[in-house]
């Protein structure tokens, strides 16, 4: 079944954030870059707070701090002054300028303002990438892709063919990016990975402190993306108009491998097949061992996993890949949900559900009230930390994955891609199921089977609320 919650007017406990929030992330993955959000001060502060909590890194994002005057008479002056100040303090090589609901509603033309700004100031070497991200235009996931797409379309220039591979990634963790790079190196490939926030948003503690962290994709590498031998993009659920890989294919004829995030055996196989095809290098023994270990783990845990009934929610691309892992291991999904309005999740996954003998609910534009309503039979949830709502209301334990993770440390270090990462995620899922079982089974068995004379009436059974803390509204 494919549900869209839009029959309700109010969103109750959202499963999404807004576009500019998603658009900050790719810019944090460019070398020597900064972001300015054109709108009122609050939006950028909220987003910074959200990201700082997840990554545990300073997240410096400027705002044009629109006030009443700017809102009435236009924010051009604020935007230009903001750029001046940003340049002065951070001296970045590239600046992403993102719009907000407010800037879009009052009709700000940031393309014109920013190019005019560079001319006026004679800043010929500076780069500004303006991205239109009205908060109401989509979720943070669309904002992320809108930014990556615009970075590519803004910077890429026709380049003679070269031997590098383009690798374009969705919002995965810095640890995931490092793993992808390790695999690329093992396959002896030279590549441009975009956006690369593996260091900028997970930096080693070194002194002195630098306002703009080292690392990130080099601008000249992005410019040269059209000359690459191919593009590998983890963007299976992407609409074409948001897909940088499709853009490079269409405009510059770069062959595109549009793949799922390599989570699970099949998805990782697809990734390695593509790399093998591109590089002509055979998958090295070390990686084959990792694959073998993942298979071994899957077999070792299969009976535990087969008792899992999962709720998988969050950004569509990650949800798709995690669903695959769950399907491979018998942690069959009950509910598959994303905050995005449109995503091909249902079409892509439906054909893979033949072995699942319960109905699977697909929810788009999801909020947690909708997710909860369809998750009564689930015993494990996988997604960002807002899913703790499911734990609190229904006792469904949560495996934290994706963005944002607010109530635990280490969101930036969660590894779930490749054979090794898949194994770590799978172990976590299995262990969560085991912990839940061990926590409750003594009580459950007593409740179900014990018929001794001293059996307590049901209502007064000790710990009868064992399924987790419950708070009624």
């Amino acid at each position: 079944m494919d549900t869209n919650v839009h029959f309700r007017s109010a969103t109750e406990n959202p499963c999404k954030m807004c576009m500019p929030m998603g658009a900050i992330l790719p810019f944090k993955g460019l070398e020597n870059s900064m972001v300015l959000i054109h709108g009122s001060q609050g939006c950028s502060t909220y987003m910074r707070r959200h990201m700082a909590e997840h990554f545990n890194e300073p997240i410096d994002v400027a705002s044009s701090s629109l006030n009443e005057n700017g809102t009435i008479y236009g924010g051009e002056k604020n935007l230009k002054q903001g750029l001046d100040n940003l340049m002065q303090v951070y001296a970045p090589e590239v600046i992403g300028v993102l719009t907000t609901c407010l800037a879009e509603t009052i009709g700000e033309d940031i393309d014109r303002i920013t190019s005019q700004y560079l001319q006026e100031r004679g800043l010929l070497k500076s780069l500004i990438v303006p991205v239109s991200t009205p908060g109401y235009g989509g979720s943070h996931a669309e904002g992320y892709w809108q930014a990556v797409k615009t970075i590519v379309s803004h910077l890429a220039t026709a380049t003679p063919k070269h031997s590098k591979l383009n690798v374009i990634i969705p919002d995965i963790s810095p640890a995931d990016i490092r793993e992808i790079k390790r695999i690329l190196a093992m396959m002896q490939l030279d590549y441009t990975l975009l956006p690369d926030y593996s260091t900028t948003l997970d930096r080693p503690l070194v002194k002195p402190y630098r306002k703009v962290p080292d690392g990130g994709t080099k601008i000249e590498d992005i410019m040269a993306m059209p000359g690459a031998r191919a593009t590998v993009q983890f963007g299976l659920t992407l609409e074409q108009n948001l897909s940088p890989g499709h853009y490079l294919a269409k405009e510059f004829g770069v062959p595109l491998y549009n793949l799922p995030i390599p989570i699970g055996v099949q998805n990782t196989d697809l990734f390695l097949q593509a790399l093998q095809e591109i590089s002509g290098v055979a998958v090295p023994a070390a990686l084959q061992d990792e694959r073998g270990r993942l298979l071994d783990a899957m077999v070792d845990s299969h009976k535990y996993n087969f008792q899992g009934r999962s709720v998988i929610f969050g950004e569509a691309e990650l949800v798709y890949a995690v669903c695959q892992l769950c399907l491979e291991n018998g942690v069959y999904p009950v509910t598959v949900a994303t905050g995005s309005k449109n995503s091909p999740l249902a079409q892509l996954l439906q054909p893979k559900l033949t072995d699942v003998d319960h109905p699977v609910e697909f929810i788009h534009n999801a909020d947690f009230v909708a997710i909860l309503a369809h998750s009564m039979d689930a015993n494990i949830a996988i997604g960002p930390s807002d899913g703790r709502y499911l734990t609190e209301k229904q006792g469904i334990p949560l495996v934290r994955l994706g963005f944002p993770i607010h109530d635990r440390v280490g969101g930036q270090r969660i590894l779930s891609v490749g054979y090794a990462g898949s194994m770590m995620l799978l172990d976590q899922i299995t262990n969560t199921l085991l912990a839940e079982k061990q926590r409750g089974y003594r009580q459950t068995m007593y409740d179900t089977f014990y018929r001794g004379a001293d059996r307590l009436p049901d209502a007064t059974l000790p710990n009868s609320g064992l399924r987790g803390e419950r708070h009624e509204l």
């Binding site: 109010a10 001060q41 609050g42 707070r49 100040n85 109401y136 002194k207 607010h406």
Partner: protein, 443 residues
């Protein structure tokens, strides 16, 4: 203070005590591009009103504004948990073009029939005014239809900063109480303003007051409900902690209901004791003063010994403070002093003239005082002044850690109380756990 990277427009907002005559400039609009740490009007209003436990808090606007404020605060409730939900009209492109009133009306209808609240707040966000939605009219009509209170909160984000949001929240609170006064007021009762019951702080203070012989009538707004707020005019005295958010409400309640107000602070040993004494002294009952002294004596007896141990450990350490409002900043200077720690940098997001005057008075020469600081300035002065510890919010924490500086969360999402005598010990313990952690030996 020569810094080639400094922003000229920020000069008036930074000063060093003993070096410049002028007081630091504050209450100004943030400088564009300066990476201000400030939040918006909506955020201010939401912080103040959100702890009202049995209200539906509906954000009229696009999803972000609601998403970023879902259950991130640590206010506790002894009753309803309704306030912990995030409700939003989640405006879409078509609503922005054709107006969002229809969606607002049906959202209110839906939520009222589902949750049966007696009170609904509808917060406006930045674009609501721009797209021309008439919040007032929609709420008025909905009140009639559902026969409950549905109060619009005028919190468009761009029309000022967090302080303007406090004001909008106070206006909304005034609408809950009967609009005529004076009301018959009861004996030894107070309303407690400006505490949001983070980690149960209100419960701690309520207990102290009860032991003295004073009953807390209504609390603003931690652990409050529609009914308790309605009866607020019956108290004999308003005691007010966070003045930044509540001074306006206290003043208006004095005007309307003739309830006098008293500034208090339960942060730190000295302030807590002094506040209890002045509350007791506000009533004519002499027994109150006796009981107050007894309470202070019992509570401080053990605590002083505990704190003394910490004082020795903290000797010679320096603190930097960057918090939301003036009240907190001022209390922190005193609290650090109690712990033998010198404040070398202090600033707020939204402090007022009079707050900065007090800070200026309290700190030593050479202390940097700054309003609406940004990360670059925080970094510069923490390093320059050799701060060992920073007090701030979530955004400032990673910066402190990267600089090898210890950190105290003085934010709305903390999970341990910092109020009262027990809070003073918690505070010292937290300072200890971050300042004296072995990890600093390795970085």
């Amino acid at each position: 203070m020569v810094n080639e990277q400094a922003i000229a427009a920020r000069t008036a907002s930074i000063k060093t005590k003993g070096q410049q005559k002028q007081q630091v400039a504050c209450d100004t609009d943030s400088v564009a591009g300066a990476v201000s740490q400030r939040a918006c009007v909506y955020s201010g209003a939401r912080v103040v009103l959100n702890p009202i436990t049995d209200a539906v808090h509906l954000v009229h606007g696009p999803i972000g504004c609601a998403s970023y404020t879902w259950d991130i605060r640590g206010s506790l409730s002894s009753g309803s948990e309704l306030y912990r939900n995030s409700f939003s009209t989640d405006l879409q492109e078509e609503d922005v073009i054709f107006g969002g009133e229809k969606k607002l009306v049906s959202s209110i209808d839906e939520l009222v029939s589902k949750y049966q609240p007696e009170l609904v707040f509808v917060y406006s966000t930045c674009i609501v005014g721009v797209i021309g939605d008439d919040l007032q009219a929609v709420c008025k009509a909905a009140e009639k239809k559902h026969n409950i209170r549905i109060i619009p909160v005028q919190s468009s984000g761009f029309a000022g900063n967090k302080s303007a949001g406090y004001r909008a929240a106070c206006d909304a609170l005034l609408k809950i109480m009967p609009n005529e006064g004076p009301v018959e007021q009861k004996g030894n009762t107070v309303n407690y303003l400006g505490d949001f019951n983070l980690a149960g702080e209100i419960w701690i203070i309520k207990d102290y007051l009860k032991r003295i012989g004073i009953e807390v009538n209504a609390t603003f707004t931690g652990d409050s409900s529609y009914r308790t707020l309605q009866r607020a005019p019956q108290a004999a005295l308003n005691i007010m902690q966070c003045a930044g958010s509540m001074a306006y409400l206290a003043q208006r309640m004095e005007d309307i209901y003739a309830i006098p107000y008293l500034r208090v602070s339960f942060l730190g040993l000295t302030d807590t004791a002094a506040s209890l004494r002045s509350i007791a002294a506000s009533f004519s009952d002499p027994m109150l003063a006796h009981r107050t002294e007894a309470l202070i004596a019992t509570e401080t007896a053990t605590i002083n010994r505990q704190l003394e141990a910490y004082r020795t450990k903290f000797k010679g350490k320096k603190a930097a403070i960057f918090v939301g409002g003036g009240f907190k900043a001022i209390s922190l200077i005193k609290q650090f002093r109690e712990l033998n720690i010198e404040v070398v940098m202090i600033g707020t997001q939204t402090g007022k003239q009079e707050d900065y005057a007090v800070m200026q008075e309290l700190v030593n020469d050479g202390t940097v005082i700054l309003d609406d600081a940004n990360p670059a300035e925080l970094e510069k002065f923490m390093v320059e002044k050799g701060a060992n510890i920073l007090v701030g919010g979530v955004k400032e924490r990673p910066l402190a850690y990267k600089l090898g500086v210890a950190f105290i969360d003085h934010n709305h999402d903390r999970k341990h109380p910092l109020s009262g005598f027990v809070g003073a010990v918690n505070f010292a313990q937290e300072v200890y756990s971050t300042l004296c952690s072995p990890v600093w030996h390795y970085v």
